[in-house]
Symmetry: T
Subunit: 147 residues, 12 copies
């Protein structure tokens, strides 16, 4: 039996590689998905990699994960700082959640220092670039397979 | 002639009964709709009971109520605390509005103590569980039928 | 066997009907008591309807309700925003408490947005005029008689 | 026909002359009453000079002034900074109100810089010692007799 | 060669003319579009005039403008004050942005004084009614055609 | 010659033993009075042990202590956090004052972290349960009898 | 020997009677000067009545009063809330200072609630209209002639 | 008949072109005056273009505009953020006021985000460089000539 | 069997008697140790009395007390207000902790009103001079020997 | 050639396994060191694993790492929230820094939400238990070996 | 060739020696000018020593220094804490600026702890009495003559 | 007889010349010591120049200076902003204290704007680079030798 991880990306992450490359790097979101797939294969995990600009769609996907997935990795982008609805949906999912940020949000504007997601994620990975997704996968693999 | 009330439910309320039952109880949103229908029948009101995870969809429904409904009951869930857009839409509707919260938001995290909806609702019902919907209906019935 | 509800009114509510009728309406407190009695009769509840301008007297009445009553409806008026003593007394009573406000306090001065009572009441009814007392009675009736 | 002014003194003002004479002076409250009587006689006003340590009693006296008096001078002492109930009672009275403080509260602890009374008084006299009562009387005389 | 300007309108602006006409005036959004078209013709600009109640849809439209437009005029309505996602999308677009508000937001509720859009727009036009759209067009025309 | 200590208890302390025993313990206020009497006898002090729910009554008792007592121990309960009037009365008394709290108020709600009494008491005893009254007595005994 | 009082008026007070008559009344500053002269004659005081829109000029006049006057009445207008320089000049003068405001500044915008002048004036008269100048004169007369 | 607009420039705007050209551009204030004159001619407006480093002089000029002008355009420079006196003078003028800032003050130090002028201007133009003066003129032309 | 109490003194307490004697008294820390020894003998306790200027050393001593002592009395001096590390060490010790301050910290600079130690101590003794150490010992004796 | 990583642990981390195991787990710091050694071997890194309760010693070790190490992993414990000195030392080191916290500090007391270290670390790993050290090692291995 | 330093003194510094000598000392401003001249002679600097009570005049002098001077020493007095205009003028001057305060402003009222000047001065000298002017001269001499 | 000055340097100042040379310059701390020695020789002062990364060690050195030195110059580095213990030690020393900062801390991160040392130093020298040590020495020389 295998575990399936929902990897969610919030608004503007579909523009990765285009947006402020000095902050976010030149990799595209498709390349991140590939990178995650490779690492997931190594860890014997399945992944379901998605992106949406819509807060409501993200909420719905998280609700559905309650039935369909075993863990969530979420980079909620700008919604990290403004969405109580996504935080509540993560609670509803009752799944282990890892929060990822590509850049170090603590070194940017002060409104990016606050995360509603951090209230419900068990772990947070900040500032490691797109490698942070792999670190999150590794943690979930360890968590889901430990007794 | 009969009055029709739009009853709106915001994000994650479709998960009622699943989400944190120690806070929200075990009743599902379908059961709440039934409960509202029964009470509305007693009060000779018609109801239009909906739920959405999308802030924009809620805004649109409220705008349309200006033509189609006589009052609004809204439990905006997490959007209560973050959505100026829904508050503005309620102003546009020019309908009497009752705000409902199932749990007592004043006893939860401090970011749940602030409600944009309360700025435009004429009345607020907090903490009575799903019975609060019935209280809201009773108030609207009284308000719409009083001279 | 019947349940008896203590209905408490704080400072200046004895002046109801005189004070700022554009905010509080023209009904007097005596008329509110009558309205409560009528509704209580329908609900098979007994009521004990009182008013005091004294914080200490309100505290004492609440303490005594521990022995003599089954639930409390309180419109603490201005003490809502300043009295930790009344909040503490309500905790001592160990009774179910409903908080009522005639006007929508969230649309008035900012110091009226804070309620110590909301920390200990199970439910809060705000802005429905004097009809809010009836809504509170109905909730208590439901709560006390449900298994 | 003559106007009657209710002159109210809050908690600890009965100790005037004893309490911190470097701040409040050596005059007793009885001497202040005499001083007010003399000035009122000159101005053809009647006065009703009272003191209470009880917030509730002050509220009640102010409510009753609605029927019995033509203006209020109030030195609410410590309740200036904490009593919304007295502020509300002054609104109920619908009388012209002058607020008096013997010491300059703006040069003392920061919690004495806030006055609920100032929200409802038409004029405020601060820091003139007990002579401030006479200034307040003179203003009321002018206000009540001007067309 | 001609420049094309994306003119974006946020939530509730489709209700223009209906909503609080004492604040926003009686003109409808269709009339604003016509007014913009007329002015654009004078300035030899093309325009793409849109409205959405959905934050996610606005984000997507802005992302796409990176390929299809030469400048953005945005009246983000209520999302002005709450949407980091729209601000981030405007950064992604790498286009010159003008922010427009019909009413003077500085004279309204304090939560309307904060604009995330102002962090990324080069210019802001506030309070000129719907004429502000024309002012924004004129500025973009000047900016895009100056060497 | 013997010293007499006024021991004052504020609102809801008459309910000691009933109220939240997990915080305040099971001892009643009568038992605390007995405990104080025993310790006072050992220390050759006389005590005058009282309780009131009324802020005004507490103010008046403190004022009178100026003539009748040699020191004050005060557990002002909820009035600790809200009463400037009691603080002022303690200043008027010109007696040495010890503040006592049964529970550790620094580990409870943030509004209980502020004490007006601490501004005028020479010493504060917090969190030792009802034994704190004995500690306060011992300190006063030492202070009053030291040269 | 007679005392001379410097009566200073800050920015925009030269427009009295024109500016917002619903707040400041219809009297002109010349009429206020006349009113002050009349009252000063009754009190056997001399007055020196001036107005300036310039903070620097007001500072200089206050500095000079150290040599030439016996007391200061100041209505600093908008500089009340922003000028540390005038506050410092009043300290330099070493004269008794009365602060006057025509309107009740505590009932206006929050930035008008703060007064640097109140830190150095011995007394403050707020909200009595232009009659406040007379009250200030009366206080200075009493203060300068009392032993 | 023609309308005359008072165009006011506050402190340091006489140094335009010298001061921080990366923020304010290389144009001098004289060139801005010429630019305004040209645009005013097109719009059939007369202009009165002035600059002062003195808050008091600006206040006086604004007061005088009440008699002599039909509208005001003001770039108050640093006084924007600190001068209640100028705000009050603009109220006294009872003229339509447009506020202009050359740079986008929302992207600079936080103390430049606050504008007293915005409380009384009907419109605000921010960040369009010196072209903003022309936009303001155009708006006033439209406003003064519309019925 | 006997209980041993670790009595810890933080930075600058070794200078007791020299430092600001008007605040801390003339007694030296050696004399305080003697006073504690005497009282401990009476209470049949053993004490281990230490002082350090080093936060790290205090942390280490507290960690070691977990093995070697039965209770802690701590006057952390300036570290009271700044050291989360000492607070955490006290948690690690799992011993009953009493916090002592010689002066009444609530009447000094505002940064001395905050104590990290109060979050973990069961009781706090403030303002009783060096006699506070004896009060703390008496409480620990009572606590350790009560069933 | 091999890279050597300095792994620093701040105050109370030597008590790991003893302190609040419900938060920090039952593993000891020695076991964490072993776990790090194993992972480092896999990654072909060398490690230098240390702990200190002394802020000054941590500062000195970090300064010395400038010469002796290639990267730093730091769990500064309580000093995370209070030590500017450690933050400055990390800047001096000019090495890549990863910040690790065993527990999710965002779900604990608010003073633990602030980290000075996050201002200078390139990445932050929060809440993954002691596995976070391994994640940090993996990131440094990737960073140091990537071109 | 010699360097000329503009030494500016703000409001009330002309009263030096008269104003609060316990804070500012007994020396007059003329004596400070002499002291500066003597030190400047030693350092081979020329000085231009001025004082004004007018913010606008100070702004103008600073603007002119751009052409005429090589450095600025400024004690802006009360304008230190309120004048953005002076700060902006110092930026315009593009000269090296030293800020001087005679008293230690950090030990006075909290509104004196904020300095706009410190944002643009390269160095700040606080609390050394009038000797601070000499220290500032010495620094400028060193700065202007170092390569 | 000669005066001896203790010159203290806090954490990371031993790295001077290495750390962020764009802020602190290229001079090493040894060179600063030499520079101080040279200037001290000119002023006929002796100096005792030290550095420590340990807060506790700095506290101890300051305590000892009470016996051994005549004045203190302190650049407490990062402890400036966090150490109440050092502030208290400086009070214990009862010596004249000058605070020095090499960089202009008012132009850096906001947490560097607060200095506990400024509460007890008589003078503060900020932003003059290492020349500030010489300025501090000159001031102490003047202070210690003036009658």
């Amino acid at each position: 039996m295998s575990f399936e991880i929902l990897i969610l990306n919030g608004p503007n992450l579909n523009m990765l590689g285009l947006r402020q490359p000095e902050i976010y790097g030149a990799e595209t979101l498709g390349e991140v998905a590939d990178r995650c797939q490779t690492r997931a294969d190594q860890l014997a995990l399945e992944i379901d990699f998605r992106q949406s600009n819509s807060e409501g769609e993200l909420v719905t996907w998280i609700q559905e994960s309650r039935q369909n997935h075993d863990g969530i990795i979420i980079n909620a982008g700008a919604y990290t700082h403004t969405s109580v609805a996504i935080m509540d949906a993560l609670l509803v999912s009752e799944l282990p959640v890892v929060e990822v940020h590509i850049s170090n949000i603590h070194q940017r504007e002060s409104f990016r220092h606050i995360s509603y997601i951090s209230n419900v994620a068990y772990g947070v990975v900040v500032g490691f670039g797109t490698f942070g997704y792999e670190m999150a996968l590794e943690s979930l693999a360890q968590k889901l397979t430990s007794p």
